[in-house]
């Protein structure tokens, strides 16, 4: 029976299920114990599962990620938290040179089933070093998977799917999404999760244009689609849900029907995931169904400013999606 829950609660509930059902699972990260995590996501878990399973670490991102690799290859299922996704940069060797590569380098004889969770994104006035969306970095590394849940249910289901996956998964949450509310049904067993890494979801059907988005831009795209419908423009909204591997088939099928594609993500345009989606569409037969150039509506190529109005200009807002869609219909 679905009830209303917040995104943060949905993640918490998934962690609780994981810790409760699989004794190999443990959490590690900065301030995730008694403090409950910088965004309250791990609230109450140390009280329920103890300090052995929910471990506060020193401020050592490299070691946090590296210990996850070591624990994962020796039989445990670590879920480690980076307090802000920006701090993953300090752990890049452990994630890129180690976690992503051991399975391949060691002849396929080793698995690295670890999950790195981190909140990313701007809109909170936290400034340039605490507001980034770095999913494209990780998506570019063979051996990693990257998921970016947008909905409350996905924040739960995709985390479960991430832990079930035998590969290293980067699970990027958006800070502004933590407080969003939505219909939510807690799974009773980890294996019950219907989410599959690498599957996009068509959240809204429409025949005039396709909007492909993920994370917070999915929600903004849905809002924009409602506004567009009043003008007689029916937008089909695809939530990518996973950034690596990308579900290009769903995008291609949709664009084959609508002929117009608007891609939107918060991360900067240049060399972002949007470029990959666009390439995936035009390097297939779908190029013959395009009625207009593909349009990307993404973050501006600038470090995130502090001032609120400046910040709003950098990150695409609902109105921007509506404007871009209108223009695309005329193109």
């Amino acid at each position: 029976m679905p009830e209303l829950s917040t995104y943060a609660s949905a993640v918490n509930s998934a962690l609780r299920l994981l810790l409760g059902e699989d004794e190999r699972v443990f959490l590690a990260g900065e301030d995730i114990g008694v403090y409950g995590g910088a965004f309250g996501v791990t609230d109450g878990l140390v009280a329920e599962f103890g300090e052995d399973r929910v471990r506060d670490t020193p401020i050592s991102e490299d070691a946090i990620a590296g210990l996850a690799v070591g624990a994962a290859i020796t039989g445990l299922r670590p879920i480690v938290e980076m307090q802000f996704s920006d701090f993953i940069v300090n752990a890049m060797d452990a994630i890129v040179n180690q976690a992503a590569k051991l399975h391949f380098m060691y002849g396929g004889r080793v698995e690295v089933p670890m999950v790195v969770r981190a909140p990313g994104g701007g809109g909170t006035g936290a400034g340039a070093q605490h507001s980034q969306s770095l999913e494209a970095w990780f998506a570019h590394v063979p051996g990693l998977k990257v998921v970016t849940p947008a909905t409350v249910q996905d924040a739960h289901d995709l985390l479960l799917a991430s832990v079930l996956d035998p590969n290293p998964v980067i699970h990027l949450e958006h800070k502004l999404l933590y407080k969003t509310e939505g219909d939510f049904e807690a799974r009773r067993r980890i294996g019950e999760t219907p989410a599959r890494i690498g599957e996009a979801a068509v959240l809204r059907e429409g025949s005039d244009l396709t909007i492909a988005a993920y994370s917070i831009m999915t929600l903004r795209a849905l809002e924009a689609a409602d506004a567009l419908a009043d003008e007689g423009i029916e937008a089909e909204v695809i939530d990518m849900r996973t950034v690596k591997p990308l579900d290009l088939d769903t995008v291609r099928a949709s664009v084959g029907r609508t002929g117009r594609l608007l891609i939107s993500h918060e991360a900067p345009t240049a060399v972002g995931v949007g470029a990959e989606i666009a390439a995936g569409v035009v390097e297939s037969n779908t190029i013959d169904y395009l009625l207009a150039p593909i349009r990307r509506l993404c973050g501006k190529d600038v470090p995130m400013p502090y001032a609120r109005d400046l910040e709003r200009t950098v990150i695409p807002q609902v109105e921007d999606v509506v404007d871009a869609a209108r223009e695309l219909m005329k193109a």
């Binding site: 007689g232 290009l248 084959g256 029907r257 002929g259 297939s284 037969n285 395009l290 009625l291």
Partner: protein, 398 residues
Amino acid sequence: MSAREVRLPALSATMEEATLLAWNVTVGETVRQGQPIAEVSTDKVDMDLEAPYDGTIVELLVEQGATVTLGQTLATIEAEEDDMFVGLDFAAETQAPSPLPEAAPSTYDPVPPTDTRGGIVAASPPARKMARQLGIDLTEVTPTGARGQVTPIDVKSHHERAGTPPLQTQQPAVESRPESPAPVSEAKRLAVRRATVDVMNRTALVPQFTLWRTLVLDRAAQRRGDMGWTTLLVRALAASLHEHPELNAHWDDEQRTAIPHDGHSVGLAVDRPGIGLVVATLPDPSLLDPGEAGRAVRGLVDRVRNGKIRPEDMAQASITLSNLGGLGVDRFNALLFPPQAAILSIGSIRHRPIATGDGALKAMLTAEVGLTVDHRVADGADGARYLETFSSYVESGG
């Protein structure tokens, strides 16, 4: 102790040969492993060649100034340590690797998107642009591209085959919107003409009559708001069918009975100047609210005019609306499109003098409609009753 070879090693990642500049040792000299025994030059850099083993120089095989290739033996040393690999055969045949299965399919799919609901004709972007500039309907172009798409060459040859556009014939129009005729292919026009002939030959066999009525539309004009006339008319046609199911059927000669149609969709006769008459279907518009119905009508007309017709646009209708009002016609008897049992014609909507019942004449907004009915399915009175319901609906503004 054994005689071992001193070979030119790879002194850099890219070197393939070197020049021996000078020997630092002589035959008979004792050397230690790592001791420089010669100077060589490679990749424009001078480097030391080191003795690979402890031992005594037995022979120097290369002269000063000579070019030596990678792996070539330059000298031999009587080494204290025996060659570990003496007697081993390095040329032994390598076992064949296991056969590789099929390579994974590439992302380039030769099969077009199977979901063609969008009705978009596959055409490469340059072809699409060219067709747009030339006013060519892509549905008429034969595609020869490797992906099954229309190519610019296809568009070009199609354009060259097209003759001058034929004279405008009197065709039913919708919503009196001006549309400039685009040059189209004679082949397409002829195809549509022939399709119309087939329908007319069939309808000629159907006994049909037309009932006339004048609609007074002043009130409707005010109350319809921003709902278009066509939208109002098609909703009225569908709603009236709900109340008069006897007209929503087709005559089956074999079973000698009227078989009810599925649903209450309404056909719209759309004029494509230079091409001909295309009839496309709206699913029951009386089930939608006016706004949705309006969008559906506009969408359908757009698709027909742009050649983006979808399969469901061609579904069977229960009744059709045919409108010549935009071309100045007051009234006409539309012919049935079998297997439909009814069709409604409408002429121009304009002010005409109407007796108001108290002996006076007034200029009222009127339109002349004609309901043509298949007499095998229904009689005059049935038609009249339907027309009454329809008229009330329209005159009240929907």
